[in-house]
């Protein structure tokens, strides 16, 4: 009988290898559930979950909501754009007001780094971080690793390159933590302006030549250029970025092996990745989306298990 070593899912850096294994083993069962004629189990029928999205999200929000509903939890949704946050309410006040409606688990996305950690110290509910600023996005990293494990058998010993805007990416940081914890080798590849200075201290290699990076790796996780987080110009033009760091079929054909292509979405087709690559048999982008529901069901189920009656 196993359970998670943590009380909240705030980031991958708080998890152990055993936690990740437990989440994946549980996700295997939920993956079977979501492929049944009736894709639902009654486990969490007495649990209420609030999805608080203080920042835009499409697939993460849908994925969480679907995971919650497939576990039979009651779900309430909240978007900052339609809320009293605009009227000057503080985060703790907003959340405490929601919790007084007897909510057990809070799934939160917030533009500020550490918002989840802050909240976990001040409110009495299980917190799941669905992305905090440029810091962590733990469920994305879990579903990425889960998808690698599904396609390649295991994550251990595999070589993964993260290509693109690493500086502004919470997906990159959570992925680095998760992959290293499972014994994978990680490199990042992108324009030097979009590679954070501290990256080498995490034991991550830096490669600025895309072809060399692809020759080295088993899996390429391609990130979107996050224009909305850029206050200054980090590269001369999108066209130049695409020429140097865009993944197309031509560059993949020039390699003497197959590289698995991943992307956390949303894709800017023709910028960081071309359509033929995104839709090819090497791409597991849609598997990632399906696995996202199973992995989030596992995380929610395992945390709900700790809630005392």
């Amino acid at each position: 009988m196993k359970q998670l070593s943590v009380d909240h899912l705030l980031g991958i850096k708080y998890l152990t290898k055993n936690d990740i294994d437990l989440i994946f083993d549980t996700a295997d069962h939920f993956k079977e559930v979501i492929n049944r004629p009736i894709k639902k189990v009654p486990s969490l029928r007495d649990i209420t979950i609030a999805n608080l999205f203080f920042e835009n999200s499409t697939r993460t929000k849908l994925s969480f909501e679907l995971a919650e509903k497939r576990l039979s939890a009651d779900v309430i949704n909240f978007s900052a754009s339609q809320s009293s946050v605009k009227k000057g309410e503080t985060l703790i006040d907003t959340v405490n007001n929601i919790l007084s409606m007897k909510v057990d688990i809070v799934v939160m996305r917030h533009p500020n780094v550490g918002a989840g950690v802050f909240l976990s110290k001040h409110v009495d509910a299980k917190i799941i971080n669905a992305g905090d600023g440029t810091h962590e996005h733990p469920t994305q990293a879990l579903l990425d690793s889960y998808s690698i494990r599904e396609r390649l058998g295991s994550v251990k010993g595999k070589k993964i390159v993260i290509v693109g805007d690493v500086l502004h990416s919470r997906v990159a940081l959570s992925n680095i933590f998760a992959l290293q914890l499972q014994g994978a080798e990680v490199k990042v590849c992108g324009p030097t302006t979009l590679i954070p200075k501290y990256i080498s201290s995490l034991g991550v290699g830096v490669e600025t030549n895309l072809k060399k990076a692809l020759e080295w790796c088993d899996v390429a996780n391609v990130l979107r250029v996050q224009h909305e987080r850029m206050d200054v110009k980090y590269f001369p033009s999108t066209r130049e970025y695409t020429q140097l760091f865009g993944i197309n079929q031509q560059i993949l054909d020039s390699l003497d092996k197959k590289v698995i292509i991943m992307h956390p979405g949303p894709i800017n087709r023709g910028v960081e990745i071309t359509s033929d690559v995104a839709d090819s048999s090497n791409s597991i982008i849609l598997n990632q989306v399906e696995n996202g529901v199973a992995v989030r069901m596992a995380v929610i189920y395992l945390l709900a298990q700790q809630i005392k009656r």
């Binding site: 069962h29 079977e32 639902k40 009654p42 486990s43 576990l71 298990q305 809630i307």
Partner: protein
């Protein structure tokens, strides 16, 4: 803690044959019947019965599924130890089928209640029956009774019925253990 043998391997063998014959009596050639073993412990009995029906009684194309009920249990968050899930392997549709649920020991009936809920997620069965090796009568929390039973026992609540199979314990034997 003391324990005594409730069924030895010879008795289990005879009971398995009787249960197989009773199933044939009601389900003929099993053309519209499927067997479902409940995880984790019902699967050994289910596998044995399938082998027996296939090899000794020449039933062809007998379908056996394994059903995990962890996510349907009514004691989620009510026990100290977390629940461990097992795999569900049902690669056929249950819609309009006659289903025989198989478990080793029927005690409170709560696992069977969970099994009945779980089965419905694979379609609407025509009929559901219950087969158990040991029926601990007088211990029920729910109005659930077996259609086929190996042996009925009047164990008191502190006592534990332990079923061992060749596959897990190297021999077939059923003990009744006194926990006092």
């Amino acid at each position: 803690m003391s324990s005594k043998v409730l069924l030895n391997s010879k008795e289990i063998e005879i009971i398995l044959h009787r249960l197989a014959c009773q199933l044939i009596e009601n389900h003929n050639d099993f053309s519209n019947t499927v067997l479902i073993g409940l995880q984790p412990r019902g699967i050994y009995l289910a596998n044995r019965l399938k082998d027996l029906l296939t090899n000794e009684y020449h039933i062809k194309d007998l379908k056996l599924g394994l059903l995990d009920i962890t996510f349907y249990r009514d004691d989620f968050r009510r026990r100290d130890a977390p629940l461990d899930a097992n795999s569900t392997e049902i690669d056929f549709l249950i819609e309009d089928k006659n289903v025989v649920l198989i478990d080793d020991v029927l005690f409170s009936g709560r696992s069977i209640r969970a099994g009945l809920s779980a089965i419905n997620d694979f379609g609407r069965p025509n009929l559901v029956e219950l087969l158990v090796l040991i029926d601990r009568r007088f211990s029920r929390h729910l109005p659930i009774q077996p259609n086929y039973k190996g042996r009925q026992v009047d164990a008191i609540n502190q006592e534990k019925v332990k079923v061992c199979w060749k596959e897990t314990h190297n021999k077939d034997v059923v003990y009744i253990e006194d926990n006092i």
